[in-house]
Symmetry: C2
Subunit: 206 residues, 2 copies
């Protein structure tokens, strides 16, 4: 089956499969049935079978899934078998936290650049990468392949900063800037809204 | 209609409505039609009408929605008309970023405590709140009403730390610890997995 036809909903579940299988691997679990995976993930077993059939199955009737194989195959589907270079644009508290997140590197996302507009941050190192100024960004992107830019600037700067990134060849933006980015074509934007989950918590805890 | 019957899908969209309406308010927009809101939100106009009908409508045929009224009403539905106290448990890079996020305070979430196990952090202040040690947590929770705990400890500590929080009366956990929390009843847990969105970006950018 053509991967392009896979629904958004399946794709949104894949990272969860990947995480759970990773935890099973860490606990040295070798095989798991769709029923066991179902109980862990709060997804029905038939949903799991259906999801994984999108990618050719991986399971064997009555025998369960090989955890390591399934983990690696889903990793490949997600593109995690390749390394990705990423930069952080906006080195405030949140940008620093993203830059310091070891887990992203474990997933193959390698921090290669940090950019800000604040001259007092120029040259400050995080994980041995010096912060550069935004006017150095175009030159940096000419010389270095960058797969993803994490956008951690204030909301008011998000749209204009994204334009600079895209004008200089960035194709994938991981957007934490508290506003959805609009009007860019040929670019993948993943908007992360931490406050949305806080609002849901507020609703659910009423 | 009983709010309890509202589907998860609607509830997941409410924070987005709230954000968009907030941006419209900031731009001094007074009224908006469901068609305009639809174009901005990439949700069909009929979906919007249907969603808002869950809460009694708010709109008037041919007249559109009053932005300020709708913003405030959705805020009330989300429980954002009340103040919430929250603490941050785990004051690493990410915990510090959460503690420093002014936007949460604008939404009525007031930071009232910071906790960690690292003695070198004891008394260090973030936004004028001193970091306390974990053994001070039970006493703190006895004296202070805390609505939400943001859990920003390493994955390996997540389950045990959550247990301490819950044993001491915490009912709502905003979990950033890279693992889903399991097996707690009567407690609302909102799991945030930043790496999931990064994996989706990896997939979509293949």
């Amino acid at each position: 089956m053509n991967e392009k036809e896979i629904s958004q909903a399946v794709i949104r579940r894949l990272p969860r499969y990947y995480r759970y299988l990773g935890e099973l691997l860490e606990s040295n679990v070798e095989r798991i049935s769709s029923n066991e995976l179902s109980a862990k993930m709060h997804v029905t077993a038939s949903q799991i079978r259906q999801d994984l059939n999108n990618f050719g199955g991986f399971g064997q009737q009555g025998y369960g899934y090989n955890v390591k194989y399934l983990y690696e195959e889903i990793g490949k589907i997600l593109g995690l078998d390749k390394d990705h270079n990423f930069i952080v644009v906006g080195v405030g508290h949140f940008g620093q936290a993203i830059a310091n997140y070891q887990n992203f590197e474990n997933m193959g996302f390698k921090l290669t650049g940090l950019f800000d507009v604040d001259p007092s941050l120029s040259g400050v190192k995080i994980r041995n990468i010096p912060v550069m100024m935004m006017d150095e960004l175009p030159g940096f992107l000419k010389k270095n392949k960058v797969d993803v830019a994490a956008l951690t600037v204030p909301k008011s700067q998000a749209q204009s900063t994204a334009k600079v990134l895209i004008d200089n060849g960035i194709k994938n933006i991981w957007n934490f800037a508290l506003t959805d980015l609009d009007g860019f074509s040929g670019v993948t934007v993943e908007n992360v809204h931490l406050s949305d989950s806080l609002m849901q918590l507020s609703y659910l805890s009423k």
